[in-house]
Symmetry: C4
Subunit: 225 residues, 4 copies
Amino acid sequence: MARRTPRLDLPDTTRVEMFSDGVLAIVITLLVIEVRPPEHDDGELFTELVHQWPAYLGYLTSFIYVGVIWLNHHAAFRRIRYLDRGLNFANLGVLATTAFLPFPTAVLAEAMADATTEDQRIAVALYGAVASLMCASWLGLYHYLARSPRLHMDDGDRRFFHGERIRAVAGIAAYGLAVALAWLLDPIVSLLVLFAIPVFYAVTSEGWGEPIRRRRSVETDGTSR
Amino acid sequence: MARRTPRLDLPDTTRVEMFSDGVLAIVITLLVIEVRPPEHDDGELFTELVHQWPAYLGYLTSFIYVGVIWLNHHAAFRRIRYLDRGLNFANLGVLATTAFLPFPTAVLAEAMADATTEDQRIAVALYGAVASLMCASWLGLYHYLARSPRLHMDDGDRRFFHGERIRAVAGIAAYGLAVALAWLLDPIVSLLVLFAIPVFYAVTSEGWGEPIRRRRSVETDGTSR
Amino acid sequence: MARRTPRLDLPDTTRVEMFSDGVLAIVITLLVIEVRPPEHDDGELFTELVHQWPAYLGYLTSFIYVGVIWLNHHAAFRRIRYLDRGLNFANLGVLATTAFLPFPTAVLAEAMADATTEDQRIAVALYGAVASLMCASWLGLYHYLARSPRLHMDDGDRRFFHGERIRAVAGIAAYGLAVALAWLLDPIVSLLVLFAIPVFYAVTSEGWGEPIRRRRSVETDGTSR
Amino acid sequence: MARRTPRLDLPDTTRVEMFSDGVLAIVITLLVIEVRPPEHDDGELFTELVHQWPAYLGYLTSFIYVGVIWLNHHAAFRRIRYLDRGLNFANLGVLATTAFLPFPTAVLAEAMADATTEDQRIAVALYGAVASLMCASWLGLYHYLARSPRLHMDDGDRRFFHGERIRAVAGIAAYGLAVALAWLLDPIVSLLVLFAIPVFYAVTSEGWGEPIRRRRSVETDGTSR
């Protein structure tokens, strides 16, 4: 594989990783704030704790989702060696859509518990729209990286980011499917698709159609990062 | 001791440590949000401040617990040299159960202040169930590490993670005991056990049945991490 | 360019960058807390979601602003090699004004939705005053750095910080203009100026009137930072 | 000065600094949550904004205080080279008392605005007690470090930590004085002392009675940390 010479005019990615880790750590931790001790009459604590099972499911689902986003972020950035302005903006796009995710999640959870089928469809559509935006922000990041070989190390990385774009497009299609199913069948069916997508991303978090890639920066210059 | 050759195809643990530190720092800091200035009539501030002593005790206990979890995390990861997908998921399991802990803590604190003995038993059982899940997530992490010698450095580390599994199992047993005591004796007795467990983990945070271990990665390659 | 010898008596900037990244990551993430699921009657979810569009706009605007502040912070600190007490205080000033920004933003958003034109002018003035203070804190940071050559590497960095002072003064002038327009014309006109300023800072985040600068610390000593 | 040989059996302080930075960054950022847009009648926004000046003062004071604590933490840890269990617990003590500080601050702010002189004395006493605990936690940290030469580099560091104990004791005495003045004179007089103490710590944050110290770890082994 063609090996590129080090770039001396661009900063490395340490700080953007620290900042991104901070944002994702806060998003994932704030999720528990939505789970509150229930009001209850004497002797009714058990019943009330069971009654709020959707809150526990929501915590679990959101935690898996943000955890998977962190894994994808980690898998992408360990292939990135230098940082430029375009990568900074692409990364801020990913963070902005991820940090917004708790809002449609809360709308969807409340709608599934209490609302009419029509409003549940609206909630699924809102969730699908925001999640598609998030996939689109990843598509933008991968596309930028596939076209910026100077930011990573060799042609294998370029192919990796090329392939990752397929995962992002697959996500947009899957969220479109979930919204369509809410109108064609039932919002409950959409939920199954919405929960399956993070699992898909978890299973493929190390890349699409390739064995686990090596981290060249460690082996080539011995710095500890 | 057998020394393994460096792995060049796996990333190191810097970012997973940054992310975990972020999550644990946020969990430990959000605890003070539960302690609020009390409503009070003129001249009653002192009385009302004393009256909410359980909130201070809860802050102290939770701070010790999350602090100890951080110590355990630190003790484990300074023996880990490389990161793979399984370790990522095991670590996310630890973070998910730890970040959820404020919920059963709040339920227990409210129940001990105001609820019937029956509801207090439910609250102890909830706390014990979540805390056991947390111990089980540590068991999963230690078990995975004990079977993944390629992620650490030598056979001493393997033995360390082997031994740590005992600590995790001991925690599950102790929380089971605490729940049993709530039904057999009184929820107050359970509290004593619940408070003793973090102290046990603090005292044994550097390992079980072994002197303080050396950090080989420092001495062998001189990088500063 | 004159090259300065390494300073051995001053710490590097790793920790102040970690601390600043933490503060900015928290500020940017807490913004979504202001966006809440709307109360709604049956069948009215879509209408209510559309009705709270100012909240989405506020999230987007604030996210861009704090993101740009992070970019500026990053661009400044990768030119800084050592840390002294004055730099610490200048940096704390930047963080203090940035962390305060959510308050005038919320006042302005509420005023634009519901208040009289007179109160909207007050809200614009408050926002302009706080944002000018923030620009003044950047002016202080850049001025300190322009006069402290021992903290960075060569005369190019000194010229960079010299030039950056112009950007900070331009911000103060622009916020003054926005406040004046609220009285002379209409608060809506002020909003356009307020939204244009972060865009200006984003476009110029790599420096004012110079091509992208090289990061000398990487090329000269090979440390990984 | 006597130079000690490197210790190979103790971890370095990277992670405890990351964790501490996270905790302090969150504490300092959450302060703005207490400052809320005021309720107001038409045309009364300016009046209401002015009316809540104690909230702005509280934000400023708390920000300075936590910022100074971070400076002290930074000044201490750049003299520390290795980490052991005792240092971990001493550091957790500092973090626990710092993260608790927002509570007495809120009690004091509310009491100064609305309460009787008697309750204001109670609030000053609460603040003084918590702040003295915080100084005591720093005393514990400095004392431990002064007696643990194996954790730092040379005799100069030992003398530094020796001297720092005086600063911690001075803080405890000053907070005792502030509480006494609340009873002997007036709680307003106590406020002046309470606000003067962080300024004292800021001015002396690089050490007590010595010129700015050099960071030996940089000059001796050239690692970048």
